[in-house]
Symmetry: C2
């Protein structure tokens, strides 16, 4: 696995999809850990930061399962490659734009990614298609155990795992799902649904996490509180009680659209597919907007011969860094628009 | 020929097209005449208006060539039928919305239409596809001669033919062309071109004549002055000197687009066709806007298997009255949007 390879193909988990994939694009579980006996990053010396990076890079490659695995030095990486990793949800924008020795370990078909020296010494995530938080949690727990066998993490008997930001203290576990909520948007119920989510102490963010806008009706919904609950409680509560009402809300909105505004919905879906298949120039925002409508149409059985994962792959590959990496270098926005349209036409053309 | 028939099919001249059809959709020559010894309409008694209508209806049917011909009593006509005639350019909106005994004679595949009791007692027009004003003029002159053999028209040795509105006095001849000027619009030169036309004493109007908006980049351009010139001079000047600069202007704009913005142009054309072929709901304005782009694409050889006349036919048939007459009655705007989209998809579907 190398970066050039990443740009060519979407990750396997995206292709495979998963349970409730009509609404839940992906699931993610994240852990934050800091090394015992080492200051938080903001208080580390330059030497210490380097030391943390070296130790964790080595350890991560040791514990990673055999097969394709990769450690990338983000500090040394090309800006386009950093952007590529953000587009693939393997690192945060903050990590891409940070300074100093830092990196990311990627393994198991990109379902495992561990940022080194982002906000904490170590931030691990396990990703999967559809709603599969339980499975993601089991896998991150095993990774945490393996790391814990080799490293000593900062832990307080009173607070739990210690993290740079107090909001993560405790189990330091975050669970999130990427939801596709186009029907709530179309029926004007989105704000109400997101308010309800926030009332359940969930954080709602855009496609690329904190501070990003919702693009194409995709929303990242995550738990907020990590203190005073066990990991298992957090995951179970999210899967059993927090995610289902939002998913159901979207389902009900889809049913209402099918019942009351079927033709308008078909119009939107078929126009979206037609424009994606016809455009010679297209921006990434318009593409995401149209792909969102197409995704809804596929979920509702209105479009034959295209799958949700095909749409997910196109959505990933039409991002600027992917586009440029696939084509081997910097492109002007106009040229990107042309190449994006070519790529989309090629991928969505009728059989 | 009857009204129900009109709603089903576009007129033959539209199907046939004509010279310079890439820019000139149609040509039209119009004559205004008033009966000698009868007041202008504004000063006629009710009885006199009726008398004029009866006399002219009879005479028009006598002089009309054998074959399909039709005299329609506009006063008695259903509002939807009146609208249908406006959409086909057989009567003016003013005539449709007028009061009192009035009508229209239609003959020769709708290339000849004579309004009775519009603003003048008689307003004849001859229409044809493309740039063919000379031919239209010859035909209207023969019609005028034939009518002149049977009727006596108000004529002054000093002013020429007398008309209700002083701007028509003289030869009372109007020549006009319907131009498709999308490239001037796209390159931001439209206002300049239309100003140049006005500087040449041409009147520029929208798709349905005076007071109507330009829809889909279609403009009706006509001569303004009728006094002090012979009919032949008016036609020749228009054909030789007035129309060509505007047509050339559009041609140059198309060449510039092909040279400098080819991909953006192809993008617009292919998106337009794709949306027309995919939409399940569409308004007449959006349809005209897209058909305009499609027409340009066909003119430039960017679209295979579709003809300018096919686009012209769709543009005509997707107007509200045509749509409703074809489907046999009043439809709500939402239902029209659905039926319009169905009709367009059916007509433009890939071979």
């Amino acid at each position: 696995m190398n970066l050039a390879g990443l740009a060519q193909d979407p990750p396997g988990w995206l292709r495979e999809g998963g349970p409730r994939g009509d609404v839940v694009v992906s699931s993610r579980v994240r852990l934050a850990r800091n090394l015992a006996g080492m200051p938080f990053l903001s208080r580390c010396s330059e030497l210490q930061v380097r030391e943390v990076a070296d130790l964790l890079a080595r350890t991560l490659m040791e514990v990673a399962a055999d097969g394709e695995k990769l450690y990338l030095d983000i500090d040394a990486a090309d800006p386009l490659d950093r952007e590529l990793l953000v587009e693939r949800h393997l690192i945060s924008r903050q990590h891409a734009e940070g300074t100093g020795p830092r990196g990311v370990a990627v393994a198991e078909g990109e379902t495992v990614a561990v940022m080194v020296n982002e906000e904490d010494h170590l931030r691990a995530q396990v990703l999967g298609g559809g709603l599969r938080l339980g499975e993601c949690y089991e896998r991150i727990r095993r990774l945490d155990d393996a790391l814990g066998d080799r490293l000593s993490f900062a832990f307080s008997g009173r607070f739990g795992y210690l993290t740079a930001c107090p909001t993560n203290v405790g189990t330091a576990l975050r669970v999130s799902v990427m939801l596709h909520l186009p029907a709530l948007k179309m029926t004007g119920q989105l704000e109400r649904a997101l308010r309800a989510a926030r009332d359940m102490h969930l954080a709602v963010r855009g496609l690329y996490g904190e501070g990003t806008e919702a693009i194409g009706d995709f929303f990242q919904v995550s738990n907020q509180t990590t203190l005073g609950k066990t990991d298992e409680q957090i995951v179970e509560e999210f899967v059993e009680h927090l995610a289902p009402p939002i998913i159901d809300y979207e389902h009900r909105a889809r049913e209402a659209l099918l019942k009351n505004r079927r033709v308008a919905l078909e119009d939107r879906v078929h126009r979206a597919l037609a424009v994606l298949r016809a455009a010679r120039l297209i921006g990434s925002e318009e593409a995401m907007y149209l792909l969102s409508h197409l995704r809804l149409g596929i979920s509702l059985g209105m479009v034959d011969a295209l799958t949700l994962s095909a749409v997910g792959e196109v959505a990933l590959l039409c991002q600027p860094a992917h586009l440029q990496r696939r084509l081997g270098g910097d492109l002007s926005p106009a040229e990107r628009g042309r190449r994006r349209a070519d790529m989309i036409r090629g991928r969505l053309e009728p059989g």
